[in-house]
């Protein structure tokens, strides 16, 4: 609860800073408040308080996901020092990012479908604005418009699904719905099943799972790079937190009914994402497609619903967010230099030894090479799918990670090649170097001791 206040306070302060003219203090203030929010998140741990008349339930699941998202946002602020400081729209960006984080937090902790809807919308509307924020750039306009139009469309599906579930069960509250479902799970009305399917479609859009993924690559590519970084980390984590929370609490009784659908979506996402990523030459778009593939892996945790799904998803989401934010520090520097092509990285490792090392480790982690954090995330998720009998899905997943090694290593190889004509000079400011150092430590430590995060739930 206090977390939500702290996070939105940054937003309000940001807007006030324009009026009261203290914009130059805004950046340190936002860093500080993020740290405060992190501390407040820690204080919520293991209390399990229900807020707002049981609309928001800060159980350990919600706390850990909130923690991951707050840390990611903090890293996001750190990596974007140059982008934010001195930017005439710094206040707007800071405010909108804070509100988006608030929405993300609500998505992790909702215990009522109304809150789910509000969280999704707060996050999404903020992201529409940010995606289109580069007003003079047609690509940014297009990204924002595509995101907005398809997002609103998907929200319609989500809402219709919520309405149907409400009609069938008579409540928006997760506890009451799950009680109702477990009491009548043999004779639920057809509108309930229709509702579950529509909610699944709406959330699948938000997590960018195939075949609802079409927006993602275009939007990721067109948006200003800092916001792409935010989308592929915080937004994705929040959407999955909501997805798993809803399906594991409310709909687990009827999982035999929906899990084949999600399994197919998951397999499609992995294959489409990996195969399309193979042919990309722009690093930003490659990451967008790899985001689709990773949505497939994370969806596996929802498909193979068992008592370890949540730990597996937390581990994966943490590893993915951390690695992505690190890689996006590189991408944002490439954007500043005006070239997002992978081939422009030739000779990178000669000039920037430490960033090259960190990016290599991150790529290894995200490709699932032990003993880094990404490996344990993948391992936990694959093991869950196998345990639940989805052998074919695990096979597809392994196949797709094999493909993924190709394109992740493509980036690594490019960094270590001798410089060509295309090579550009990239400079990492101290904040970005610090981010790289932190993510390196996190990826290695989480790889050695995954229990650090999995035992928190």
């Amino acid at each position: 609860m206090n977390i939500l206040i702290a996070i939105t306070a940054v937003g309000v302060l940001a807007m006030l800073s324009e009026i009261l003219n203290f914009r130059r203090f805004l950046y340190p203030i936002s860093l500080f408040v993020m740290l405060v929010a992190l501390a407040l998140t820690g204080m919520e741990w293991s209390h399990g308080v229900r807020y707002f008349n049981d609309m928001l339930y800060m159980d350990n699941y919600a706390v850990v996901f909130t923690g991951i998202m707050v840390v990611t946002t903090l890293l996001w602020f750190m990596m974007n020092e140059n982008f934010l400081n001195g930017n005439p729209r710094q206040a707007d960006f800071t405010a909108i990012i804070s509100f988006a984080l608030g929405g993300a937090m609500v998505m992790a902790g909702f215990s009522d479908l109304i809150m789910l809807f509000l969280g999704v919308e707060i996050l999404s509307i903020s992201m529409y604005v940010l995606a289109a924020s580069n007003k003079s750039e047609p690509r940014s306009n297009e990204a924002g418009f595509k995101y907005f139009l398809m997002g609103a469309f998907a929200s319609g599906f989500l809402l219709f699904g919520i309405a149907l579930v409400y009609g069938a069960t008579g409540s928006f509250n997760l506890r009451e719905i799950s009680e109702f479902v477990s009491e009548n799970n043999t004779d639920m009305s057809a509108i309930f099943y229709g509702g579950v399917l529509m909610i699944a479609a709406g959330l699948a859009f938000k997590v960018a799972a195939a075949p609802f993924h079409f927006w993602a690559p275009d939007v990721y590519e067109g948006s200003p790079t800092p916001f792409t970084a935010f989308m592929s980390t915080v937004v994705k984590t929040a959407a999955f937190a909501a997805f798993l929370r809803l399906f594991s609490t409310c709909f687990s009784e009827v999982s035999t009914w929906w899990s084949p659908v999600l399994a197919i979506m998951s397999a499609l996402s992995m294959l489409v994402g990996s195969i399309m990523a193979l042919r990309q030459t722009s690093l930003k778009r490659l990451l967008a497609w790899s985001g689709v593939a990773n949505a497939g892996y994370m969806l596996m945790a929802v498909v193979s619903l068992n008592e370890y799904s949540d730990t597996a998803l937390v581990l994966y989401a943490a590893a993915y967010s951390i690695a992505s934010i690190g890689i996006f520090t590189l991408v944002s520097n490439m954007t500043n230099a005006g070239n997002e092509e992978i081939s422009s990285l030739h000779g990178f490792s000669k000039v920037n030894r430490f960033p090259a090392l960190v990016i290599t480790v991150l790529m290894f982690s995200i490709a699932g090479i032990p003993p880094l954090a990404g490996f344990f995330g993948k391992y936990a998720i694959f093991a869950g799918a196998l345990k639940d009998g989805f052998v074919w899905l695990a096979v597809v997943a392994v196949l797709s990670s094999a493909i993924s090694v190709f394109y992740y290593l493509k980036v690594v190889v490019a960094m270590f090649q001798p410089a060509g004509r295309e090579a550009v000079q990239l400079e990492f400011n101290p904040g970005q170097s610090l981010v790289l150092g932190l993510v390196l430590v996190l990826v290695v430590v989480l790889g050695l001791v995954p229990a650090l995060i999995t035992t928190l739930i």
């Binding site: 919308e121 509307i125 306009n141 924002g144 219709f160 939007v219």
Partner: protein, 107 residues
Amino acid sequence: MTGSILDTIHINNYLILASFLFSVGVMGVLFRRNAIIVFMCIELMLNAVNLLLVAFSTMHSDPGGQVMVFFIMAVAAAEVAVGLAILVMIYRNIGNTDINFLDKLKG
């Protein structure tokens, strides 16, 4: 209090009407090319949901559904505000509101 309105008009009728409205909205989104009309069709989808929620709220005699309707209206307003702003920006840049003109990002 006499019986609920649902005794006279059965809930299924509301369900069918809402589904029909929703489908009209979806069709509009899919087949109209002018962005403004697409927006309106999305609003239509949301209104179908509102109708459904109100009907269900009466059926369960639970005010929650009506509360949800207010939230949806508020959010829809915010959404349209953002959408129209983006649209204005696009119109300034490319002088067109046809959604199929936006296909620079692909592959």
